[in-house]
């Protein structure tokens, strides 16, 4: 049995989750602590990927990154190919899963008593230092929960990935796409195995998350 889809899924999901953390942490912090014009719009845009059909999201992403698209032109000029590569699958997984992370982390940051951050400031610490030593550790449970949820969601993305990365065996065919392909060609045993592995992986991750959530710190 071809194990490539499993390795690709792992690579794509890990990369997408790192990307989600890098972009989602500052955004979640911003939404949790600041009032600025356009904040309501920003919050809505963050949630949109959760409720829009994946094909719609995929369509717009494709328009954006194709050679004629706004982003695609820039990337093309830089010699980077994005559409229908594994990087496009990362983009798809990132767009599909960021909202879960941002909402969880934002709730976590909002639950941190603002006076603790003020206390840290009165003790001479910079905003950067306050975030890493107070805000993030105190919101760590919510942030970890968001990370695991986002990772699971990235692992399971189908629609967006299909639109922007296609289902090229050995190149962009992630586990969910491979399962679909196997079922289409009536290779039920292999579809069954891959499905079980996917279910087992996510179950283990979520159980680990449950254990984390009970930890006191």
């Amino acid at each position: 049995m071809d194990l490539f889809p499993l390795w690709l899924s792992l690579k794509v999901s890990v990369t997408a989750t790192v990307l989600t953390l890098a972009t989602g942490l500052p955004l979640a912090r911003l939404l949790a602590r600041r009032r600025f014009p356009g904040r309501d719009l920003a919050e809505t845009v963050v949630v949109l990927p959760l409720v829009l059909p994946p094909t719609v999201l995929g369509y717009y992403l494709l328009v954006l990154i194709s050679r004629q698209g706004a982003v695609g032109q820039v990337l093309d000029a830089a010699g980077i190919e994005l559409a229908f590569t594994w990087r496009a699958a990362v983009l798809a997984a990132w767009v599909g899963s960021s909202a879960l992370f941002i909402k969880a982390a934002q709730a976590g940051f909002e639950s941190v008593d603002g006076r603790l951050e003020q206390a840290a400031r009165t003790l001479g610490r910079s905003e950067w230092s306050v975030f890493w030593s107070i805000t993030l550790p105190l919101a760590s449970r919510a942030v970890m929960a968001g990370t695991v949820l986002a990772f699971c969601r990235a692992l399971g993305d189908f629609g967006i990935t299909l639109m922007v990365a296609g289902s090229i065996p050995g190149v962009t065919q992630t586990t969910p796409l491979a399962i679909y392909d196997l079922v289409q060609s009536n290779r039920m045993t292999e579809a069954n195995t891959l499905s079980l592995i996917a279910v087992a992986t996510v179950t283990l991750l979520l159980m680990g998350l449950g254990r984390l959530a009970r930890l006191r710190f």
Binding site: L116, Q118, A119, A120, T122, L123, G124, R125, S126, P137
Partner: protein
């Protein structure tokens, strides 16, 4: 330490507009909840930006809207003890205390942390988490954390309000001792006058976003600037009479058909015209009962004589409070009584006040305190 503060800040439904100064001492900001005390502290620490004003500590301008100065909180280097303490729940006691020392080299940081823990008797608790500490221990950790970086000024927001009453009193004395030992100038916020008086060298009285008096604590107790200050600091028997004659050192006035004489303060040069209203107060513990077994009262010792009846009483353990209605016609000055007086338990028992309700009273002229602002002129005009 020298602190001068002038702050204006408009919030929805509330305006803070205060000016006060302090030297190298403990200042308490006292007043009812919602008077703007905590807001002042936050402006001082740079946690909230005033709309206008100027804040200078030890010659360093923290804030000056005219010159566009607004020093960030981090650089003001003030110690801030928050209401409820705001200890970092994920850090040990030791790490909480060391938190503000990050700029020191590791060895110096350890040494200073140890020193602070020792001085506050926290060494044995160093490894504990804040949630495992009692209220009193939490207060010490909060003080240690704020004092460790050796701030020029310590700010304390209702440091005792989170505690139960018996603990509160012992921690008040604890806090007083620590403040005295460390010798740090401090600004302390409280809505409890006993606390303000016990802890502060100087008291700034807040009401509704304004300062209605700022004075050394004894002056506040004995010479409140107005009827409102007297009310807020909990002075009893704040009464109103009518002036008969005022001279620089005496004021004669009429109250409830009695002719009373009070000492005037020559320095205040308060000379209300005859027939004008006069506010004054009489401390309950300074009203004397005339003993019936000692003959006629001597006018040199017993002035401002009045007759009345005990109409109500309250047992406060070591003292009794008696509510006296004078033997004159007309409505009593304070509901169902005219004067509230306080007698030690021993006096209550010796004079058998429980059964003997009719008494003659005297008040020394020095114990009737005239409030300089008449009730009909705006408060807070007095300088200083």
């Amino acid at each position: 330490m020298a602190l001068s503060l002038e702050v204006k800040k408009k919030l929805p439904g509330f305006t803070l507009d205060v000016t006060w100064e302090a030297g190298d001492e403990v200042v308490t900001l006292f007043g009812p909840s919602g008077a703007g005390k905590t807001l002042t502290l936050q402006c001082l620490a740079g946690l909230i930006r005033p709309d206008a004003g100027r804040i200078v500590v030890n010659g360093t301008v923290f804030f000056d809207d005219a010159r566009g100065v607004d020093m960030p909180t981090q650089r003001r280097r003030l110690g801030y003890v928050f209401q409820g303490y705001a200890l970092f729940p994920h850090l040990s006691v030791r790490d909480n205390v060391a938190y503000g020392l990050r700029d020191l080299p590791a060895a110096a940081r350890r040494q200073r942390t140890q020193e602070v823990l020792e001085r506050l008797g926290l060494v044995d608790l160093g490894a504990r988490q804040p949630r495992d500490l009692s209220g009193g221990q939490q207060q010490r950790v909060a003080l240690g954390r704020a004092l460790a970086p050796d701030p020029a000024l310590l700010l304390l927001d209702e440091p005792l309000s989170a505690l139960d009453l018996p603990l509160r009193q012992s921690l008040r004395d604890d806090l007083r001792r620590i403040l005295a030992e460390w010798g740090t100038a401090a600004v302390l916020v409280t809505h409890d006058f006993t606390e303000a008086y016990r802890l502060g060298d100087r008291i700034v009285v807040y009401e509704n976003g304004r300062v209605i008096q700022a004075a050394p604590r004894a002056e506040l107790l004995w010479q409140p600037a107005s009827e409102r200050v007297a009310g807020i600091v909990g002075i009893r028997n704040v009464l109103r009479g009518t002036v008969l004659k005022a001279s620089p050192d005496r004021i004669q006035f009429r109250w409830r058909d009695q002719l009373l004489e009070a000492v005037n303060s020559p320095t205040r040069s308060y000379l209300p015209p005859p027939e004008s209203p006069l506010a004054f107060f009489i401390r309950p513990e300074y009203v004397r009962l005339i003993r019936k077994d000692r003959g006629t009262p001597d006018p040199d010792h017993h002035m401002n004589l009045m007759r009345g009846r005990v109409v109500d009483e309250a047992d406060f353990g070591t003292t009794w409070t008696l509510y006296i209605k004078l033997d004159v016609a007309g409505a009593p000055a304070q509901g169902h009584y005219d004067l509230e007086i306080e007698v030690p338990r021993l006096v209550y028992e010796i004079l058998d006040i429980a059964h003997d309700r009719q008494w003659q009273l005297s008040i020394h002229r020095g114990s009737i305190h005239v409030l300089p602002s008449s009730p009909f002129s705006p408060a807070g005009e007095r300088a200083g």
